[in-house]
């Protein structure tokens, strides 16, 4: 019985992220528009967009291979799995031990790998630009992320997210400079990874500056829907990750009963609202930077992450 | 060994070194050959004295070979070669005669310095003999390396051989085999040198060794 309940919770988590992801995107757009004194699209517009795309026919470029058509599913699957492993409203889910933080980072890497390949598949110049720039960003974002993971797991003595979260909500944390450094670094990485301002402008199709959009330029119909959906999921994943680690309160623990889950869910939604709002504020108050400044931006993140790890290595007998 | 015997041997060996210096000093071809003949004479005297002192009659053969062959036959032959090949009459030294002589004196000092402590236990005649013969050998080598002209190099080589014979005769009771072989080897050596001189004459019109260098390609 317990296993079935656990499986249900796990399944619920998977469905939950699926459902919430477009909503978060819509919410962000709405808040951004409001901040810019526009009315903005309705909150549920992303769902409509997805449905619209799914119903449309697919136009596949002449030179596209099977990889082009398979990639959206692979990307979606990898991100979905990663997203469902990040604690949202509860920790200690039944499969949470099957992949730790490092594996989650690597899963996102897989998704990016296939996205970049898909960008190259048709053989257009814009696809190449996107893939090339994406793979310029990744080598800095990933090590930065790994460094952040290191800081956290050295503190928590675990790379398992559930344990990290449990540790962060526990009494042993204290105020640590390393934690602060990694929070800043994580936010920077998250911005870069999700193609947000100031690294990339999700709303642009201006050829010379785009990264993510350039790669998916050739996609249409249901394929594009999958990719857009995956992008929303990834955003949700990062927001959940940040809030789970740095706002670890209110999480349900396995076996606590239904009320805990309900409370967890409510707290989680509140966190999303808060984090989304802050993200939107940040994005509207900053200008996009030149593509080649991105490396400096991410280099800073990497340095912060490394600094955080080093401080831990040196400052404490772990 | 009595004092007189020793003194005579000493004088003769010393004379050989002296003649070596004279060889070094010569800057003209014909006197050079003559001085070489003189050295051969002194050598044969020295060997003969050793034969007498050591009561080793076979050494007289060596002495007479030195006298007949080196003091007479070879100088005459060299005279003719120089004449026939029209070799430049002047010896061309590499460095000035003065420094060469000075270096020679240094070599003599070196050979004495090396030999004297070494042979402390050996009898003194042998010791002196060895020191002098080493000096002659070194001076002969010096002659070979400080002269451009092939004939003077050959003479330097033979002077070196003279030093060897002096040493061999000084070694008491050294089997005859060796002396004869030395003599023969010198004979053969000279014949071979002669053959080569002949061939070199035939092909290069000069015995100056530097002429040989001209035929090196960059092919090595």
């Amino acid at each position: 019985m317990a296993i079935i309940a656990d499986l249900l919770v796990q399944g619920g988590q998977m469905l939950l992220v699926l459902l919430l992801a477009p909503l978060l995107t819509g919410y962000l757009r709405k808040v951004r528009a409001r901040l810019l004194r526009r009315r903005g699209p309705p909150l549920f517009q992303p769902y409509r967009d997805l449905l619209r795309l799914i119903r449309k026919e697919v136009v596949v470029a002449d030179g596209a291979s099977w990889l082009f058509r398979a990639a959206p599913y692979l990307i979606f699957a990898a991100i979905w799995v990663a997203a469902s492993l990040v604690p949202t409203f509860a920790i200690d889910l039944i499969f949470s031990w099957s992949a730790d933080l490092i594996a989650i980072v690597a899963l996102l890497g897989s998704a990016r790998f296939f996205l970049a390949l898909a960008g190259l598949d048709v053989g257009t110049s814009f696809g190449g630009i996107g893939a090339s720039r994406e793979m310029m960003i990744a080598p800095l974002a990933e090590p930065a992320m790994i460094m952040i993971v290191f800081t956290l797991s050295l503190l928590a003595r675990s790379t398992q997210l559930s344990f990290v979260v449990a540790f962060m909500s526990g009494p042993d944390v204290g105020l640590r400079i390393s934690v602060a450094l990694s929070l800043v670094a994580l936010i920077m990485v998250a911005l870069a990874e999700n193609a947000r301002m100031p690294v990339d402008n999700p709303a642009t199709h201006l050829e010379l500056t785009m990264v993510h959009e350039a790669m998916v330029l050739e996609y249409s119909g249901r394929h594009l829907a999958m990719i857009e959906f995956a992008a929303s999921l990834k955003l949700l994943l990062y927001v959940s990750l940040i809030s789970a680690i740095f706002l670890p309160w209110g999480m349900a623990v396995a076996g606590q009963g239904i009320e805990a889950y309900v409370i967890g869910l409510a707290v989680y939604l509140a966190k999303l609202v808060l984090a989304g709002f802050m993200l939107a504020v940040f994005e509207t108050s900053i200008a996009k930077m030149r593509v080649f400044r991105v490396s400096e931006f991410l280099g800073t993140a990497l340095m912060l992450g490394l600094l955080g790890t080093l401080l831990l290595f040196v400052s404490r007998n772990l | 060994m009595t004092g007189l015997e020793f003194d005579v041997a000493h004088v003769l060996a010393g004379g050989l070194v002296l003649v070596s210096f004279m060889l070094l000093y010569q800057d003209r071809m014909y006197p050079l050959i003559s001085v070489f003949a003189l050295q051969a004479v002194v050598l044969s005297l020295s060997v003969a004295w050793q034969a007498f002192v050591q009561n080793a009659p076979h050494l007289f053969i060596t002495a007479s070979i030195a006298l007949g062959f080196k003091a007479i036959v070879i100088p005459v032959a060299l005279h003719r070669i120089v004449h026939r090949l029209g070799i430049h009459r002047m010896v061309e030294p590499v460095v000035g005669l003065g420094p060469t002589m000075l270096f020679g004196i240094g070599l003599v000092a070196l050979s004495i310095g090396v030999m004297l402590p070494v042979t402390a236990q050996a009898n003194s005649l042998a010791r002196e003999d060895l020191a002098f013969s080493l000096a002659v050998i070194l001076l002969g080598l010096l002659m070979m390396v400080s002269r451009h002209n092939a004939v003077s190099q050959v003479i330097g080589f033979m002077s070196l051989e003279n030093g060897l014979i002096l040493a061999a005769s000084g070694a008491k009771g050294m089997p005859l085999v060796v002396e004869i072989s030395v003599a023969f080897s010198i004979l053969i050596a000279f014949i071979v040198i002669g053959i080569f001189l002949f061939r070199i004459r035939e092909r290069f019109d000069t015995v100056d060794l530097q002429a040989l260098q001209r035929f090196r390609g960059g092919q090595r």
Binding site: L67, I102 | M144
Partner: protein, 670 residues
């Protein structure tokens, strides 16, 4: 029994090589030699597996009256040797199978066939050798036979240089190892490994030997800055040999390092680990950067070997550091990570070289800028290459990820180290490792994307044909192994535990008993990973989403010209190239590492000539380490060569001078 059988198989391989000399002119030689190699190595493989899994405690020793007369040839099969025998023979089986098809395209089989089995025999013998003489004999024999294989395409430009650099470096490595063994054996000449193992070595002497082993084994493995031969030699050989050299021979070098440093030298000093870590970190980062700058597919793969060797050495360095601090369990974890990566790299690097060989056969091209779109013409090769690319990029659920994950886990234990220098150093190496892993992914997006995706850039690429069944069989076999090792890592880890138990006296917890076959390096509360579940999850998600989409979405598909923001250009030359793909990374890292300088020549307004972009990059390692040596050797050779053309008189003066000098010394001495 296993050992005797292995030796017999090695002898049979040598005999096969001799047979190949006799058969060179016949066409059947190719199937005979490769088939024979396949059978023989396929026989050796189960023996090695059997020994590792079921006879780990029961070492076998064989003594033959060969080699040094008073020593004889000692051979020894323990779990470490058995593990590397598996790596060697697995690679050999795959390469032989591949070559059954690939070898038919060989222009001059007589230059390959005799050396191929000899090379295999050499690698097998290195692993089982148990005295210094036999070890070095086999080691250098392996180098020599692979050198002959490198020289097989001797007419191609640049191969002469490759051959020269390769064998010169190999010789350098052997001499370094020889010095190391000389130090360890002592003046009595105790060359047998047993004697070396049991004798006590002073710290200074052991450190010297360690440094020499780094030079010797490191140069063979391809550690920066000793890697210079590797990107020259590996691509020059026929592809199945490239696969063996990159995938397997470098692992034999790792074996040599492990055997000597962890087994023979006794207790390590802590700074050994630091040196190895530093070299590993630098190798991994530089190797992948070099690879990114490369357009030649096989050279790119060769540089990735440098990267992966770096990763392996990071693991080994950690193992040494832990061991010197008596943290045996952590050492076991780090060593497991390193050895796991050894196996993984041998699998996917062979696979990738097979793929590049297939491309080479199909198009005659190694230059990526002249390829493209091969996924349409060679779908199976493309799929296998994609699997290999994913694996080498350390992406889950394939095997490359597992070993890097384990390496990260062992890095996370390193705060327990007591030396401050190490504490500072390990996180930096971790960052380098992460950087290398991410760059590797970028590099393989480039390699796969430019070679297989897009549109063909040349007529040869457009006319490519899928390769034969043998080659495909070998590639798919390896792909399957990559996947299996990725989703059942516990099996491999448990096997490696038998090795670490032997070397560092500890082992990781048994993995096969864990629920759901997940792997737990230390404790469930610290970290765990389950390749199987991740794989199942991804499969499930793909299946679910595909099903849902196809169930509810429009299924209409229309083929049309590419959109490309409205400016589609029919010429395939407007595609992104390998060079342009790597340009951002070149800007980020290249200006520092390669002193890359770009110069743009823009035509004046109104001038219709094309703009030109020139990129100049410098290989600093080559310039700093190799060119000066070469320059000094050349200078001295020139100077001494003047002594060749002296006159006889001057030569005599030399003799005279030496005589006088020695006499002077003698006179003064007395």
């Amino acid at each position: 029994m296993d050992l005797i059988a292995i030796l017999a198989l090695a002898a049979a391989l040598l005999a096969l090589g001799v047979l190949a000399i006799l058969l060179t002119r016949l066409r059947v030689a190719t199937p005979i030699v490769y088939g024979g190699s396949l059978v023989l190595t396929a026989l050796a493989l189960p023996l090695a597996i059997h020994h590792l899994l079921f006879a780990a405690g029961a070492d076998e020793q064989v003594w033959l009256p060969l080699g040094l007369p008073w020593l004889g040839s000692h051979f020894h099969l323990d779990s470490l040797a058995a593990f590397f025998l598996i790596v060697v023979n697995l690679g050999a089986v795959a390469a032989s199978l591949y070559a059954l098809g690939y070898g038919r395209h060989e222009p001059a089989p007589g230059r390959v066939l005799p050396f191929y089995p000899a090379f295999l025999a050499g690698m097998n013998l290195v692993v089982v050798a148990d005295d210094a003489f036999t070890f070095l004999l086999a080691w250098e024999f392996m180098s020599l036979s692979s050198w002959a294989l490198v020289m097989a395409r001797h007419r191609e430009e640049g191969n002469a240089r490759a051959g020269f650099v390769y064998l010169a470096m190999a010789s350098f490595g052997t001499l370094a190892l020889l010095l190391a063994f000389g130090l360890l054996a002592g003046s009595t000449g105790a060359y047998a490994f047993d004697q070396i193992r049991t004798s006590k070595h002073e710290a200074l002497l052991a450190s010297l030997a360690f440094a020499l082993v780094i030079l010797g084994a490191g140069s063979k493995a391809g550690l920066v800055p000793l890697h210079a031969w590797l990107p020259l030699a590996h691509p020059a050989a026929p592809s199945h040999v490239s696969a063996l050299m990159s995938g397997v021979m470098t692992k034999v070098a790792v074996y040599g390092f492990v055997r000597i440093v962890l087994d023979l030298l006794g207790e390590p000093l802590w700074w050994w680990g630091m040196v190895v870590l530093a070299l590993g970190g630098i190798s991994s980062a530089l190797g992948v950067l070099y690879a990114l700058m490369e357009h030649d597919l096989k050279r790119l793969l060769a540089y990735h070997t440098v990267e992966n060797i770096g990763i392996i050495f990071i693991g080994l360095g950690l193992a040494l550091a832990f061991r010197s601090n008596a943290l045996d369990l952590a050492a076991a974890l780090a060593l497991t990570a390193a050895l796991f990566h050894v196996l993984n790299h041998s699998l996917f690097k062979s696979l990738l070289f097979f793929g590049s060989g297939a491309v080479l056969v199909a198009t005659g091209q190694r230059d990526m800028e002249r390829l493209g779109g091969l996924i349409h013409r060679m779908p199976y090769t493309a799929f296998a290459f994609l699997v290999g690319s994913t694996a080498i990029s350390a992406l889950p659920p394939l095997n490359g990820f597992v070993s890097e994950w384990l390496t990260f886990q062992s890095i996370l234990v390193s705060p327990q180290l007591s030396q401050w220098a190490l504490k500072f150093f390990v996180p930096a190496m971790a960052a380098l490792l992460a950087l290398a892993a991410a760059l590797a992914a970028a590099c393989f997006v480039k390699a796969f994307g430019v070679t297989f995706l897009g549109r063909p850039r040349t007529a040869e690429a457009a006319a490519a044909q899928e390769v034969d069944r043998f080659a495909l069989g070998a590639m798919f076999g390896l792909s399957a192994l990559c996947l299996l090792a990725g989703i059942f890592p516990g099996v491999v880890i448990d096997a490696i535990s038998l090795v670490t138990q032997r070397l560092v006296g500890a082992q990781m917890p048994a993995q096969l008993g864990n629920a759901w076959l997940s792997i737990i390096p230390i404790a469930a509360s610290r970290s765990s990973y389950n390749g199987l579940i991740v794989f199942a999850f991804i499969g499930l998600a793909v299946f679910a989403s595909t099903y849902a989409i196809h169930r509810w979405a429009s299924r209409a598909v229309r083929r049309s010209a590419a959109w490309d923001c409205g400016f589609p250009d029919p010429s395939p030359r407007t595609q992104y190239t390998a060079g342009s793909f790597a340009q951002p990374i070149r800007k980020e890292f290249g200006t520092l590492v390669f002193l890359a300088r770009e110069r743009v020549t823009m035509p004046l307004p109104g001038d219709s000539s094309p703009a030109r972009l020139e990129v100049r990059m410098r290989d600093l390692i080559w310039e700093v380490f190799y060119e000066p040596i070469w320059g000094v050797v050349g200078f001295l050779a020139d100077q001494l060569n003047k002594l060749q053309l002296l006159s006889i008189r001057k030569y005599l003066s030399l003799v005279f001078g030496v005589l006088v000098l020695i006499l002077l010394v003698l006179a003064l001495w007395q």
